[in-house]
């Protein structure tokens, strides 16, 4: 579908706060200083699993400069991002479940005093056996990480069944079953978590590096037992989240509590190691894929089994569990589908949501399995994808409504960019190309807790100078949502984005937005902003029409000037229109809200997966594998992404590149490994390796536009779907290069070498097994 020409939408625009950040003027949470401010520090558990016998804080409290010490019993109310999994306390109560769990905290006049005070807190522990493998945890009734789990340490089992799965496998000409493992990864944002709390006049103000001010607001009220109207949450400039700041964290409650206790502002800033300990990153997944296809490659049935290592708390895990199953019915048509999943507790830092939430690791398994099946049957991998590609205006077997969809085009575009037909299977040994697809939601159809409010609300006010201010609860975490809101407002109002000021993520002054997660902000806050700006425009034009005595439909605003019949002689500016409207009755506003339509099935788990729109993507990778060392160099990565409409192509390309580079890191090097004993193997950016600029190939982005009927100006998501196809594209390319399949990620050169050696010894034997 072609989109209409627009004034600002579709033009590459530098982010509005870019210069501020480059100059160092932008104030992040750690930049904020208040008079009398104290430094807060947390004492963490050295044990992976232990009962707390006693905590003696007397010596710490006696230290000069210490203003308060806090322990878990002072804040016993449980919280958690999901109402069904409120299993955490701000500081451990009764027992600790991972190495690094916060146990006590101090507020002192400076950092050195606070750290010295931590050493003076005497905690007595009774160590318990600890479990680090979810497959073991599933059966260990003797070691209970949470007393509440019914079977061993299984937090939740999920089973989904759609269509005739047995019939589908029976009708298949070829069935292939394999196992896959994707290790944990973590977000590694450049800014560490930080919170600054002030309790003054009976009101708490918390500045925090959060992606979800609204959910944090609710959780603070609950845990601190304060009414919401006495709490204000402000998100200052934020240096990256990727899901790692997408839920309430211990330091936010602790800073608030210590501020209330001392009457002085308290700031807590995590060290890098504490960021690694807070985690909530990608769940390790032990996956089994059984895929049935006809001889021509048409998929007949899929059975996906998944064991998720949840670490020791719920976090987003129940949603991760369901996403890992629900998102697999797209972007390939699956006529019959069964999912069996388990989320299991272990004595590790909690797993949670990370960019591409839930779907990234299963996508690796499925898109590699699709290539394996294609190889078995002698079908081209691009061909098998096109044959099964989901089409626009269709419904998946698990009731996901697909509207705009340019998946086939995404595949064709990367295929042509990498010269697929000429090169796949035809390059010299050591060189290979591979491909994979993906899809992701543009915001979850359901809020995390039930409520009748819009998911996003926006208010726009106009001032007499001709500028407008957009008030939105959406949290710009560096992805550029403030700029997105300015583009939508500017386009709708017919003014330049530079005339738009965005005030966001302050619970006292901005209308509610559920936050930055599940790729929801462009679609939902963008739609709310579109509605608010439209309303404001209507108010302005009505005033002009009345003044000029013309019909309102004849007027429009273009480049800040009102255009219409009879006003050529004496042009009216946007500012004039505001003055006219204001003189008719006070301030000029527009408000808007967005609520997703009722979508999805009625089965248990149906709430996770539905979205008003889905993005689609395909990546093609070219690799060079060193035959003697097994080292994989990704030479090229071409990423196509159907994002509906690119509101700001510059920002969209950045998102797609960012997603692909995170995917490359997870493919080649990132492993959030926990040692026996519970210590992190790599709690630093030196040893937890994310790719540097020199480790990345030239990333080529192809933005594909399908013009979504419900998105703001046709836009859909692009920030998370862009990480989905990367891993399988590279793994499939490695197969093309050296003929080995990698069933564990991150891939290691050592494994590739070993597999190549094994492969050479059975070169003559045919691969795969085709059922008669």
């Amino acid at each position: 579908m072609k989109r209409e020409p627009r004034r600002w939408v579709g033009r590459p625009l530098r982010r509005l706060d870019g210069a501020t950040k480059l100059r160092g003027d932008a104030l992040f949470t750690d930049d904020l200083r208040l008079p009398g401010m104290l430094v807060g520090k947390m004492l963490r558990s050295p044990h992976a699993h232990a009962r707390i016998l006693s905590i003696d804080t007397a010596n710490a409290e006696a230290l000069a400069g210490v203003k308060a010490v806090a322990v878990g019993e002072e804040m016993p109310v449980r919280y958690g991002i999901l109402p069904r999994a409120e299993d955490e306390t701000a500081l451990a109560v009764g027992k600790v479940r991972y190495v690094g769990e916060p146990v006590a905290a101090v507020a002192a006049i400076d950092e050195a005093t606070a750290l010295a005070a931590l050493d003076l807190i005497d905690v007595r522990y009774d160590p318990l056996p600890a479990i680090f493998d979810p497959r073991e945890a599933m059966t260990r009734e003797d070691v209970k990480i949470h007393a509440e789990t019914k079977v061993a340490n299984i937090e939740r089992q999920a089973s989904l069944l759609f269509g005739d799965v047995e019939g589908g496998f029976a009708a298949a000409d070829h069935v292939r079953e394999d196992t896959f493992f994707k290790a944990a990864a973590t977000h590694a944002p450049i800014e560490t978590h930080a919170a600054l709390a002030q309790y003054s006049g009976g009101k708490l103000t918390l500045w925090s590096s959060t992606q979800v001010p609204h959910y944090l607001h609710r959780a603070l009220a609950k845990v601190l037992e304060l009414p919401m109207e006495r709490i204000r949450v402000i998100k200052p400039f934020l240096g990256g989240g990727f899901g790692g700041k997408g839920e309430p964290f211990s330091l936010e409650f602790v800073a608030s509590h210590l501020a209330r206790k001392t009457g002085r502002p308290v700031k807590i800033v995590h060290t890098r190691e504490e960021v690694f300990l807070s985690h909530r990153g990608r769940h390790p997944m032990h996956m089994t894929v059984k895929l049935g296809v006809k001889a021509d490659g048409t998929i007949t049935a899929l059975h996906f089994r998944n064991i998720l290592d949840g670490g020791c708390y719920g976090s987003y895990g129940l949603v991760t569990l369901y996403y890992s199953g629900q998102l697999l019915t797209c972007p390939y048509v699956i006529p019959a589908y069964r999912f069996d999943g388990f989320r299991v507790h272990t004595n590790k830092p909690p797993s949670g949501a990370q960019r591409g939430h839930g779907g990234v690791s299963p996508r690796y398994a499925i898109d590699v399995q699709l290539d394996r099946v294609a190889e078995d049957l002698g079908i081209d991998p691009l061909e098998i994808r096109l044959r099964n590609a989901v089409q626009p205006d269709s419904v998946t077997v698990n009731d996901l409504r697909i509207t705009s969809c340019a998946f086939s085009e995404c595949l064709e575009q990367v295929g042509s960019a990498i010269s697929w037909k000429e090169r796949r299977g035809k390059l010299p040994r050591g060189r290979g190309v591979g491909m994979a697809g993906g899809c992701y939601l543009s915001g979850a159809g359901k809020a995390i807790y039930f409520n009748p409010m819009p998911h996003s609300s926006v208010r726009i006010t106009a001032d007499r100078g001709g500028g407008v201010t957009v008030f939105s609860g959406a949290a710009d975490i560096g992805q550029g949502s403030d700029t997105m809101l300015a583009v939508v407002a500017a386009e709708t109002l017919g003014i330049a984005p530079s005339m738009v000021t965005v005030v966001s993520a302050d619970t006292d002054t901005t209308p509610v937005d559920l936050g930055t997660y599940s790729s929801r902000v462009t679609f939902m806050a963008g739609n709310a902003c579109l509605e608010a700006a439209t309303q404001l425009r209507d108010v302005l034009l009505a005033a002009v029409a009345e003044e000029l005595e013309v019909h309102v439909d004849t007027l429009e605003i273009r480049d800040g000037v009102i255009d219409g019949p009879g006003i050529d002689a004496d042009p009216l500016t946007f500012a004039d229109a505001i003055v006219l409207a204001e003189s008719r009755g006070g301030p000029v506003n527009g408000v808007g809200g967005y609520t997703p339509p009722e979508l999805g099935g009625s089965y248990r788990g149906a709430g996770v997966g539905p979205s008003a729109a889905y993005s689609f993507s395909a990546h093609a990778a070219e690799v060079e594998v060193d035959l003697e060392t097994g080292h994989v160099e990704v030479v090229r990565l071409i990423a196509s992404h159907d994002l509906g409409v690119a509101l700001n192509p510059l920002a969209a390309e950045g998102q797609v590149e960012g997603g692909a580079s995170m995917g490359l890191g997870e493919t080649l090097m990132e492993d959030y490994e926990v040692l026996e004993g519970g210590q992190l193997a790599c709690p630093s950016l030196l040893e937890y390796r994310i790719p540097t600029a020199v480790d990345l190939p030239d990333l080529e982005t192809i933005l594909v536009e399908s013009v979504d009927p419900e998105g703001p100006y046709g836009a859909k998501e692009c920030g998370e779907g862009s990480v989905h196809p990367t891993i399988p594209a590279v793994v499939n390319a490695v197969y093309d290069a050296v003929g080995v399949w990698l069933h564990e990620v991150p891939i290691s050169p050592e494994t590739i070498l070993a597999l190549m050696k094994k492969d050479q010894t059975r070169r003559v034997a045919p691969r795969g097994a085709t059922r008669p």
Partner: protein, 328 residues
């Protein structure tokens, strides 16, 4: 950010002054670029009462690249070594090694002497105080067992500096300076004698003694190079490295010196490899055979990323490729 412990900073202007400072306060440590020591201090691995900053000592930054008499001050920045056209021509292994230490930003700060004295590294040692307390302390710092190889009686922390194997292959000597009985004492020794293959002892420096300079022999016709294996192409410490220097004279190899890094607690001279090649024509099969011997003296344990087996394999592959490049 992790805070630094408190210390007094001395800023001597001369080498003698610096040595005096070091000898006057037991436990004091020298610091130059600070790229290694300050991180370790934040981790609680060192808590010196006094840091003696060597950056202001001009004599430590002096270099003499005159033919036949190359002398490099210990205070020379790694970036300088990386970029120097003379070194790149005559002592390529050193320039290449300096250019792959950490990242360009750290090469701007780090010095030759600092890199040579880099502490040995281990995943059970280079961690915060919190981490090591949780895990249990190791032989190298505060504990009674090696966390990487609990049955062992020694420390296997890895020599992770890049310039040391390069300089070993180039046949370098180090000049050491100390303050003793009110006088400056100097000694020079071959670099391989400067190191001790023990993760704790690691160098033969006496108390209050500094590396002041590196002396390089100049033999016309020498070709040299350095290869490093790491996961990322920047920032990372080596998981294995190889340096080689040789001449091709009248169709045979002369002056062959090969050293491996990051596979033991010191750079190791690959004497079997050297012996096999010396005086022989640079036949590809012989180079391959010699490269297979390069890891003979090393038995790394699992205390880094990657497995010991694979790190040794990488050293052999890099060695063969490097030798082939040098004789080409």
């Amino acid at each position: 950010m992790m805070p630094l412990p408190t210390f007094r900073l001395e800023r001597p202007a001369t080498l003698v002054e610096a040595l005096r400072c070091l000898s006057e306060t037991p436990g004091s440590l020298p610091v130059a670029g600070g790229t290694d020591l300050l991180v370790s201090m934040k981790h609680g691995l060192f808590d010196p009462p006094v840091l003696v900053n060597l950056s202001g000592i001009e004599e430590l930054r002096r270099t003499n690249l005159a033919p036949g008499n190359v002398e490099l001050g210990a205070g020379v920045r790694l970036a300088t070594l990386r970029d120097d056209p003379e070194l790149r021509r005559g002592h390529a292994a050193l320039a290449e090694a300096a250019g792959v230490v950490a990242s360009p930003l750290l090469q701007n700060m780090g010095t030759l002497g600092g890199n040579l004295c880099l502490d040995t590294r281990c995943r059970y040692y280079n961690q915060s105080a919190f981490w090591r307390n949780s895990r249990g302390y190791c032989l190298k710092r505060g504990g009674t067992i090696c966390q990487a190889a609990p049955a062992a009686k020694r420390c296997f922390a890895v020599s992770s500096c890049d310039t040391a194997p390069a300089l070993t292959a180039l046949g370098a000597q180090v000049r050491l300076a100390r303050w003793e009985d009110g006088a400056l004492g100097l000694r020079e020794l071959p670099l391989e004698q400067f190191y001790v293959e023990d993760g704790i002892e690691r160098v033969t420096l006496r108390p209050a003694e500094l590396v002041s300079a590196v002396l390089l022999p100049v033999t016309p016709g020498t070709r040299s190079g350095f290869r490093k294996y790491r996961v990322r192409d920047s920032i990372d410490y080596p998981l294995a490295s190889v340096a080689a220097a040789l001449r091709v004279e009248d169709g045979v190899l002369r002056g062959v010196r090969v050293a491996v890094g990051a596979l033991a607690s010191a750079p190791l001279l690959a004497v079997e490899t050297m012996a096999l090649l010396e005086g022989q024509p640079p036949d590809p099969a012989l180079l391959a055979e010699a490269a297979e011997l390069v890891t003979k003296g090393s038995k790394p344990v699992k205390n880094q990323a990657s497995s010991p087996t694979y790190r040794r394999h990488m050293a052999r592959v890099m060695c063969r490729r490097l030798l082939a490049d040098l004789v080409a």
